[in-house]
């Protein structure tokens, strides 16, 4: 059971860039751990810090106002590339509960939904408007209402976003999919009976013929 998401009201951190890949969200050298924790400090590590380790002040994420922000507003195709769930763990540990983008990488979106991080997809035009709005007033709070399926800000439209009913329920209840899958035991047994595994063992076998 994790904290359910119903409504998030927060100022936003903006990274106005398309195609942010998961190697940027968390570089591979931080993937040598064996836990889901300790990754928040490595979020966008190579963008946040100079090679000497000092912070790059010009990055919005590094500004004092970014502290406590729960919403990240970015560009198109956020989270493309590597399947590393570490990208989602890092965002969540850094305090983000919502990412607003014009689209998401498929694997990132699936990973986010399983960790209580809500991917909010809006049209490219709406995103341009939102960036303009936040340019004018970076302190303007955004409200994401999962129950209503809307994103709003003072002085802006109420923008509906869509999320499939199943994922929405999981997020609202804070439940996870594994419990759902485990409850399907009879169906899985029946499937296994009608669908014999094509490969009956993965244990090492001798080569039957020379392979070239």
């Amino acid at each position: 059971m994790r904290t359910p998401i119903v409504r998030v009201e927060s100022r936003a951190v903006v990274i106005e860039r398309d195609d942010i890949d998961t190697d940027q969200i968390i570089p591979a050298r931080f993937l040598k751990g064996v836990d889901r924790t300790g990754l928040g400090q490595a979020l966008f590590a190579d963008w946040r810090r100079n090679p000497d380790g000092s912070l790059r002040d010009e990055l919005p994420l590094n500004r004092p106002e970014a502290a406590g922000c729960e919403i990240l507003v970015t560009g198109r195709n956020f989270g493309c590339g590597s399947s590393r769930e570490h990208a989602v763990w890092a965002l969540a540990e850094a305090g983000f509960r919502v990412v607003v983008a014009a689209s998401f990488g498929d694997i990132f979106r699936a990973n986010a939904l399983k960790n209580g991080l809500l991917p909010v997809e809006v049209s490219a035009e709406q995103l341009v408007e939102l960036h303009r709005l936040l340019d004018d007033d970076p302190a303007r709070p955004l409200t994401v209402d999962l129950l209503a399926g809307t994103l709003t800000a003072p002085g802006w439209d109420v923008v509906p976003f869509s999320i499939d009913a199943f994922s929405r329920r999981m997020l609202l209840e804070g439940t996870d999919e594994l419990g759902h899958l485990l409850a399907l035991e009879p169906a899985i047994k029946a499937y296994e009976a009608r669908h014999p595994a094509p490969v009956t063992t993965t244990r090492p076998l001798g080569d039957r013929a020379g392979v070239s």
Binding site: E16, R17, D18, D19, D21, D23, Q24, P27, A28, R29, L31, K32, G33, V34, D35, R36, D46, P51, G75, R76, N77, C80, G81, S82, S83, E85, F104, D106, I107, A110, N111, K114, N115, D164, A165, F166, E177, L178, H180, L181, L182, L184, A187, I188, Y191, E192, H195, A197, P198, V199, T201, T202, R203, P204, L205, G206, R208, A209, V211, S212
Partner: protein, 467 residues
Amino acid sequence: MPRTIVDKVWDEHLVERGEPGPDVLGIDLHLVHEVTSPQAFEGLRQRGLAVRRPDQTLATVDHSIPTSDRSLPILDDLAAAQVRRLEANCAEFGIPIHGLGSPRQGIVHVIGPELGLTQPGMTIVCGDSHTSTHGALGALAFGIGSTEVEHVLATQCLLQRRPRTFEVRIEGRLRAGVTAKDVILALLSRIGIGGGTGHVFEYTGSLIRSLGVEQRMTICNMSIEGGARAGMVAPDDTTFEYLAGRPHAPAGADWDEAVRRWRGLATDEGAVHDRSISLDVSNLGPMVTYGTNPGMGLEITGRVPEPDRLTEPAQRDAMRAALGYMDLQPGEPLLGHRIDVVFVGSCTNSRLSDLREAAHMIRGRNVAPGVRMLVVPGSSEVKRLAEAEGLDGVFRAAGAEWREAGCSMCIAMNGDELAPGQYAVSTSNRNFEGRQGRGGRTFLASPLTAVAAAVSGRLSDPRALLP
């Protein structure tokens, strides 16, 4: 109703149709490696769950392991601990593993097909986005996150929405010096890095039919670079020839029965894909990327594009940022650009046919002074076979490093990495900022183009080196 190959494999693996939720999909083969699995095993322990089908699960080490002398201990404590953790998890949960000492250790996407575990019509997953590689044999194979790894370990099932399908028809014949890698880079430069999001690619057309299975793997491998989680090629005689006699392939009467079944997987006449694109590659030249995503590519004879010509502000900014990171000037020719490192390897281009091509071109030539060239076989078996035909000697004689199998400089977790500012020509799949080492700059290209760069120390057209 006529069905695509994607629909056929999907329908065959439906545990339960989810209306209106996601379907429950049965998984035939689950490949596991050291980086994305420890959290999943820990999840099982916390819930007191077993691995449901260890007989359909296989582990190996590839991402964080050194590619230097295997008789020495792993110097990186974190990587060593990760490898030990995988070994312990496999022992605890009864999962077969090809560990560091195994003659069958290698990159997950190289060993699956090599062992004959990857077969047409199967569903295959792995906590790695390049699982799309296995689609070259007609499997539906895609990358998943660690939470999904846990789901598959516990139930051998996944909750998934049926993907849309995207036919990528590739016609024509390749000219000498042009390879499957150039074809996929050309496709990506057309559709962009997000062009296939939400879809599975089915590669069709005369060019695809003319390619060997290893070349098809190079293409399917980079489907994810177009945003598609999977890419598939309908199995044909080329596929069956590749599979016959592999350790885990069916044999005897089972083989005949399997081939009969596999022949039925091809997309039916009249089946409709959600999207399609057609490419003729007859006039294609060698490709190279100039930017910081794999969709930013062009023929090596081209010039660095001018961001100012792009009309969409976001795209213009993205290209400016990319050229800034790469320190390239708009309009500058790519040919002749200096390079520091050449990497031949990765799940994209590290199989025996790739190494043969590269060795054939470098034979009798030398790596240019000041250039470091690494050749990293995709698996210990590829390494053994390459050495049996003397390819290691060819690379060494040219001045290249011949290393042990692993992901190596593709992901740069294991110490094989670029120094800040260095330029690499790499046969891998991603040129993202810092991918091959912080501050490093990557030109993605084919093994032939990589060799041409290695011997000249500059981006060069491999066609000039053809006999």
